[in-house]
Structures are given as C-alpha cells and as structure tokens.
C-alpha cells in the first residue's frame, strides 16, 4: 500500500516538473501583459497532437519533435497575438476572456474535427527502459522528461535575466510605463512573450507524449492545472514554480491512488481553491 503510494508520488512529482514548464509559459503571458489566456491548456493539447502526427507520419520520436514544434508553436503564438490578443489589450478584461475562451473552443473543436474524439498515443519512444531505486520503478521517459523540463525552466530564467530581449520582457512585467521610456517597444515585447509562452507548450507536449495519450478535451485539465501551479507559486519565482509544479503533480497522483482514479482533477481543483483562499498571493510570489 505505502509502496504503491510512494511509487505514485514519485511519478506524480516527475510529471509535476512538466506542469511547472506549462505554468512558466502561462506566467510569461499573464505576468507580462496581464492577459488571461484561457486557451493555454489547449495549446498543450494541440502540441501533443502535433507530436503525435509528426511521430506517426515521419517516425521522428516524441522526445525530439519539440525541435520542430517549438518554432511552429512560437509562430502560432505570434499569429494569435497579432490577430487577436493585440486588439483586446485596451479593452476590459472580460472581453479578453471572451476572446480567449472563443480561441479555446476553436482549438478544441478543431482537434476533434481532425483527430476525432478517441485518445491517441505513440506506440514507441526513443527513451526505453526504467530505473530501479530500491523497490521503486521509474520509467526512464518520465525521468528524462522531468530533467528536460527543469533544464528548460532554468534556461528560460537565464534568458530572462541575461539577454536584452529577456530583460525587456521582465521590465515590461514590472512597469510598462517605465519600460517604454527606456525604449522597449511594448507590442514587440508582448508578442515575444506570447510567442515564447506558447512555444513552451510545444516542449511540454512532446515530453508528455513520450508516456501519455492525448484526447481533445484534456486541454481543460492542463489549463486549470497550470493556473493552479501559478496561483501557488505566485508571479516571479522560478524555484517556486518548480516546487508548486511538483506539489500539484504529487497531489494529483495521491488523489488517484488513495481516493478514486476519477478524482485526479478534483484534487487539483480543491488544491487550487484552497490556495486561493489561504494564500491569495501565492506561496512564493512577489506580487
């Protein structure tokens, strides 16, 4: 009993690193331009399908496809920004939400149209085998995915602190007026943040496909899940994001093994509401 529990917790914590990666994309978008993107989870779903498609058509492994899907999702992000989001910046936030909810419905319906409703999975993965630690087995694909997620998260945080573009993004999220005074073009910065935030879902989607299946409705779960991670972490703390991701992943796994397999989302939502009630500013956040 405890053995399976710990086993599940380990798996959950590793998946949680990918959740943190998804939430990082969301926090770039929300933190920088204060846009509430309800479609973020569905971008993860779309990335997973793209990975599935590429994998099936060309035989390229899911762990490598992010190299292709990353620029693709970046372009999609830019397109969405300039076609839709840019026009809503000066409007009330409800209009923004109406638009991104429309986008969410669009992506979901499109996925259903193209790939039908049944779950899809890739039959193989480059990363084979598993690692034995004591009496616990860890799938190598999960471990590699978690490691890649952590690396990407720290890579992005380096990008944000070391490069001019990254610093422009951070400046815009701190104080837009001051940033524009220093020659930061806010529309370009916003577009960059939105593109980058969307592109991160490509990596997450590829990693998830190495050990999971995908269906058109799973965007909802990723969406609320990443908001949960973000609510817990608060804005602006990279280690906080990672810890929160791991907590959410572990909590999800625990709910599944202790209570009911269907309760996985229930646990996340309860956790989300609890965090909002008890720590409205997040556990690690500065805002």
């Amino acid at each position: 009993m405890t053995d399976t529990l710990i086993q599940n917790l380990l798996n959950g914590a590793l998946t949680g690193c990918i959740y943190a990666l998804i939430a990082l994309g969301l926090s770039l978008i929300f933190g920088v331009m204060n846009v509430v993107n309800f479609a973020h989870g569905d971008l993860v779903m779309v990335s997973m399908y793209l990975t599935f498609w590429i994998g099936l058509g060309t035989g390229i492994d899911a762990a490598i496809t992010p190299l292709l899907t990353f620029p693709l999702l970046f372009l999609i992000g830019l397109l969405v920004y300039y076609a839709i989001i840019d026009r809503t910046l000066r409007q009330r936030y409800v209009t923004q939400i109406a638009v991104t909810v429309g986008l969410m419905t669009f992506l979901r319906a499109l996925a259903q149209l193209i790939w039908k409703a049944q779950p899809r999975a890739l039959p193989y993965s480059l990363i084979q085998g598993s690692i034995q630690i004591g009496s616990y087995t860890i799938l190598a694909s999960r471990l590699v995915s978690a490691a890649v997620s952590v690396l990407v998260i720290f890579g992005i945080s380096l990008f944000l602190s070391r490069t001019w573009a990254g610093r422009a993004i951070r400046a815009a999220s701190d104080d837009l007026d001051a940033a524009s005074l220093h020659g930061v073009d806010f529309r370009q910065t916003y577009a960059l943040a939105f593109g980058l935030g969307s592109a991160l879902t490509a990596i997450a989607g590829g990693l998830l496909m190495t050990f999971q299946q995908v269906d058109p409705t799973m965007g909802v779960r990723f969406g609320l899940l990443s908001w949960c991670v973000l609510a817990m972490a608060g804005l602006g703390s990279i280690p906080g994001l990672l810890i929160s991701g791991v907590i959410v992943g572990a909590a999800e796994a625990m709910g599944m093994s202790l209570w009911d397999p269907r309760a996985r989302s229930l646990v996340i939502y309860l956790l989300f509401i609890l965090v909002l009630w008890l720590r409205p500013r997040g556990l690690f956040g500065r805002k």
Partner: protein, 328 residues
C-alpha cells in the same frame, strides 16, 4: 452602454406576444420546440448571469454548478420521494443559493477578484461534476431517469416539449423582471459602482462584500430553478449537467450581449444559440464538431468587433428603422 438600456414598452409586448405564438407555428415539430426552448433556457441563464457578471462585474463561470444542483435536487426528490418538481425547483434554487454563499463568502472575504474569481468559479463546476460522478447514492456515471408521464402537471412531465417552452418563457420574463428591478434599485447602483471600482464604492458606503453575495444569491437562485426545469425537460439527470462549456457559454452570452444591459443577454442567446444550432444541424452531419469551429470564430469576431455588445448594435438598428418609418 448602461443608460438608455430599456426598450420601449410597445416593442416588449409585441416581442412577448410573438414569443407566445411561436410554438403554434412550430406545431408538432418537436425539434423546433426543443430549439426554441433551449434558446429560452440560455436566455434565462445569461439574464441571471447579467446580475453578477454584467452589473457587479464579477466574471462568474459557475452557471453549470447551480444548474446541476437544481437539476439534481428536482430529479432526486422526484425519483426517490415523488415530490413535485414545482417544490423541487424552489428547493433546488435555495440549495444553489446556499452553495453559492458557502463558496462566495470566503472568496469575497479574501478579496479574490477578476481572473482568480473566474478561475475558481470555473473550477467549482468541475469539482461538483467529479464529486457527483463518484457519489453513487445520488449521482454516479449512469443517467437516472425521471418517471414517465404522458401529461402530468404535478410531475412536470409531458410527452411534448410545448409546456416546457411556456414554462421557460415564464422564467425568462421572471429573470428579466428581476434584472430590471435590481438594475434600477439601490442594489443595482451599488453593484455597478463596485463593478467599476471596489475601493471607491467602499468609501462611498457600499458594503461590497454583502452586495456581491446578494447578487450571487439572486443569480444562483434563478439558475438553480432553471436547472430543475432542465431536468424535467430532458427526463434524466447526469453529472455532466455540471458542464464547464455551458458555464463559459453563459458568461460569453452575457458579455457579447452587452454587460449590464437588461435585454442584451437575451438578444445574444437568440442570435448565438440559434446560430450554433443552425450550424450544428447543417454542418454537423458529415463533419462532427465542424459547427463548433465556425461558431467559435463567430464568437471571437463579435467579441473583437462589437465589444460594447450586440444590444447596442440592435438598439441602434431599431432606432434607425423607427426614424425611417416616422419619416415616411
């Protein structure tokens, strides 16, 4: 946007008569009746939403939660104890209110606003759906059917959809009257003020927390009772009644209808829900969910290019038509 939002009385009466006559045109066409009733249902939900969303500016995404609670109250009471849905509707509404207050109190107490309110209310719908799926005594994964009756007013069960159309029409009128009353009362002004700026409303003596709870309670009650009718109309209850897509759609109707405009959400419901059903009927055949792709594009376009809402647009068209008729 918000002033001058009442329609001329003559037009209202004409519309109501038209709505009352509509089923006579549809006759025994059950498909048309379901469609009309569905439009009315969305009209009721979006009009109720207008109180918390449009006036008070709280982006509530939990309509499905209150709808489901109302439906399960009515269904369970009828199936288990043969209690009339008329009583069940009231109880369902009250349970929805109780639940709304239970959730709303801590949310408003801790000053959870805007995005986070929207997200936590939408999480609520999913929490309830899963909870009812797991809770086998009342919910569970199987549909629970209401007893069949050819024509029973007590059981609110009919072999035709016609009576449901009229019940829903009555509910819509009720929802509109409540909306109108609130809009022109102290509560309405307070809600509009706090929807714009909570701090400014507070220093002018508005107890923002209490006002938001009142708005939430009115909204939950209307949606809960509508949920009871919903269960009787479809003849079964299922945890999927706690529907996230329905909840977001209700909010969208309220937004694109015109925030805070009493008749906006109904107009949006008539236009958008019938568009959606038209697309479903005409495009759904060969390509499943293609209609949703088109529909969502329509939604995005309206939200982008008519941000003040359909109501202002319709109102403008009506005024132009009227002035042209007067000229002639």
């Amino acid at each position: 946007m918000r002033s001058g939002n009442s329609l001329p009385r003559s037009l209202l009466i004409a519309l109501l008569v038209l709505a009352a006559l509509l089923p006579l045109v549809a006759r025994s066409n059950q498909y048309a009746l379901v469609l009309f009733t569905t439009v009315l249902l969305y009209g009721v939900l979006a009009t109720a939403w207008n109180i918390i969303g449009g006036l008070a500016g709280q982006l509530d995404l939990a309509a499905g939660a209150y709808l489901g609670l109302g439906a399960f109250t009515v269904g369970t009471l009828l199936i288990r104890w043969n209690i009339s849905p008329w009583l069940g509707m009231i109880l369902g509404g009250l349970i929805a209110v109780g639940f709304a207050l239970l959730i709303g109190y801590p949310l408003f107490r801790f000053g959870i606003r805007e995005v986070w309110y929207a997200l936590s209310s939408s999480a609520l719908v999913e929490v309830l759906r899963v909870a009812f799926l797991i809770w086998n005594q009342v919910g569970g994964p199987m549909e629970r059917y209401l007893p069949y009756h050819e024509w029973s007013l007590y059981h609110l069960r009919f072999a035709t959809y016609m009576p449901f159309y009229y019940i829903m029409l009555g509910m819509l009128v009720l929802a509109l009257v409540v909306n109108h009353r609130v809009r022109h009362s102290r509560l309405g002004y307070y809600l509009m003020a706090l929807g714009e700026n909570e701090d400014a409303a507070e220093v002018l003596g508005v107890n923002t927390q209490a006002c938001k709870l009142q708005a939430l309670a009115l909204y939950a009650f209307l949606v809960g009772t509508a949920g009871g009718v919903y269960a009787c109309m479809y003849g079964f209850i299922h945890p999927n009644f706690f529907s996230g897509p329905l909840s977001t759609e209700v909010a969208i109707l309220g937004i694109v209808g015109g925030m805070g405009i009493t008749y906006g959400p109904v107009m949006a419901a008539i236009l958008l829900v019938s568009t959606r059903e038209f697309l479903r009927a005409n495009l759904g055949g060969q390509l499943e969910s293609f209609y949703l792709v088109v529909y969502s594009v329509v939604l995005i376009l309206i939200a982008l290019f008519r941000p003040q809402g359909i109501a202002t647009f319709v109102r403008g068209a009506y005024d132009r038509l009227l002035s042209r008729m007067v000229k002639e």
